[in-house]
């Protein structure tokens, strides 16, 4: 039996109908365990980014329940929502990094903006750099990194404050297979480090190509959004 602390995200009977009346999700349910990677795959406009928005409560669903780290995110007041939101790492597409700063400065920027300093900041920094393999590159300016390393840096930024879950919006898009492999390695490393990942991809065959079992793939209906 799974306890609250074993589940990173639980989505139950999720329904979302657009203002135009299109039902994007109709009873979607899934569970993302701690130390698990789950792929949400589907073509453009199938609702991948929308799902991530719903989990972060950027928008509200029409019906259903979303638990993040055991908290019902739809019922939290704004103060509690942002406290929980800090425990959700998010990598948007395109990823946002500060190119005029070093790798380490990118992480420190986020940590200081969230008011995380001292020992906790140093721990977060070290953990993020070691899990993503960016430690040797920490003195490099972000603009000096290759495309794959930039994606990994975006992941490092997302996880440096020790979130329970990482939401990655299409981190493989536009990358060479070598760089895609680099990102997959990073996600596996996070998994070992105890961070669950929910990753979207337009490439429906990508999880299988990198050896992930079918059970971790959540296919969405094609082009449900007008």
């Amino acid at each position: 039996m799974l306890g609250t602390y074993d589940i990173a995200v639980q989505v139950s009977e999720l329904c979302y109908v657009t203002p135009e009346g299109v039902a994007v999700f109709d009873g979607l349910s899934f569970t993302l365990l701690r130390e698990e990677i789950k792929f949400v795959v589907g073509p453009p406009l199938s609702g991948k980014t929308l799902l991530l928005k719903l989990i972060m409560r950027e928008i509200f669903p029409t019906r259903g329940q979303i638990l993040v780290a055991g908290r019902n995110i739809l019922r939290l007041n704004v103060k509690k929502l942002y406290r929980l939101r800090e425990r959700i790492g998010f990598v948007p597409y395109p990823p946002v990094i500060l190119t005029s700063r070093t790798v380490e400065e990118n992480l420190r920027f986020k940590l200081r903006a969230l008011g995380i300093e001292g020992e906790r900041a140093e721990e977060g920094l070290e953990k993020a750099l070691s899990l993503t393999g960016l430690s040797p590159l920490k003195e490099l300016m972000a603009y000096e990194l290759g495309e794959g390393e930039r994606r990994v840096l975006a992941i490092a930024v997302a996880i440096c404050n020790d979130p329970v879950v990482l939401l990655c919006d299409d981190p493989f898009r536009g990358l060479s297979s070598q760089n895609q492999e680099r990102v997959v390695e990073t996600l596996r490393s996070l998994q070992k480090g105890g961070i669950a990942s929910l990753v979207t991809s337009q490439d429906t065959s990508l999880p299988q190509r990198f050896g992930f079992p079918q059970e971790v793939v959540l296919p969405l209906r094609p082009e449900v959004v007008a």
Partner: protein, 286 residues
């Protein structure tokens, strides 16, 4: 929870220094708003009547040398109630008399504009002040009108205030908009990091308030500088009596109104900047 907001504010303010010319323009425009507002307030206190030469008959009542101050005061109040007396003033021996000459002894001066009543007044004061007044002289003087500004000057100050207020909003929009564009990546970076919205817009308002405070400091320097330069010009006292007499006005304007106006202009400018682009970037796609 205000943790982290100081860091964000410091980073944003540092970014604003990269486009310091725009922000300096905002500070100067804001300084002009304060200057025209102050001018409007100070001119309200000045004389507004048109100036004509005034004809006065002045009764110089020479006082007995052994008269006590209390008695002089009492006489002064009594004379002031007499019909036709416009004003009562006092001169020590040696003081200058209106229109020239000096007082030979301590004197009370009774001012009247009605020449027909002079004779009657002389008799009355001699009767009232018997023993206290040794001699009464009458001086006829035509006094120049006090300096005044035409009513149009206030209209001009009001128009200037509105114009500079508008200009400061436009320049503020340019300054905030420029910094917003420069700060765009950091904005998105922080937004995706889960930073609360008020910690994103708050530092913009704070930065605008700080530059507003700088505008207030410039205003205060200019205000006090001009005040020092014109401190001996009587006309200034007549046109704007509050200017030279001091008071908290310039300090309140510089340290309270200026940052508030800066924050307001910054808030409006940021609102306009935010509504020019799809927000937030990267989350538009479903």
């Amino acid at each position: 929870m205000i943790r982290g907001v100081g860091f964000i504010f410091a980073e944003l303010f540092r970014t604003s220094l990269r486009s310091w010319t725009r922000w300096l323009g905002f500070s100067l425009a804001l300084g002009l708003v304060l200057a025209s507002g102050s001018a409007l307030a100070l001119l309200q206190e000045g004389r507004s009547e048109g100036g004509f030469p005034q004809t006065y008959w002045i009764l110089v009542l020479k006082l007995s040398p052994d008269l006590r101050d209390e008695k002089i005061n009492e006489l002064g109040w009594h004379f002031w109630t007499l019909e036709g007396v416009k004003r009562v003033s006092y001169r020590f021996a040696g003081d200058e008399l209106p229109g020239g000459g000096t007082a030979e002894e301590r004197s009370l001066l009774l001012w009247t504009e009605e020449g027909s009543k002079v004779e009657g007044l002389v008799k009355q004061v001699q009767a009232i002040g018997e023993g206290a007044i040794t001699e009464v002289d009458v001086i006829h003087r035509v006094m120049p009108p006090p300096a005044s500004l035409p009513p149009l000057s206030r209209v001009v100050a009001m128009v200037a205030l509105a114009l500079f207020a508008f200009i400061s909003l436009v320049v503020g929009r340019v300054a905030v908009g420029g910094t917003f564009v420069t700060w765009q990546t950091e904005w998105d970076f922080l937004r995706y990091s889960g930073v609360e919205p008020w910690k994103l817009w708050g530092p913009f308002v704070g930065t605008a308030a700080l530059w507003g405070l700088f505008g207030g400091a410039i205003y205060l320097l200019v205000y006090e500088g001009i005040k020092f330069a014109v401190r001996n010009i009587v006309t200034v006292t007549q046109i704007a009596p509050g200017y030279l007499s001091g008071g908290p006005l310039p300090f309140v304007v510089a340290f309270v109104v200026a940052p508030l106006w800066g924050a307001t202009a910054g808030g409006i400018a940021l609102f306009l900047s935010l509504h020019r682009k799809p927000y937030p970037r990267g989350l538009e796609e479903v």
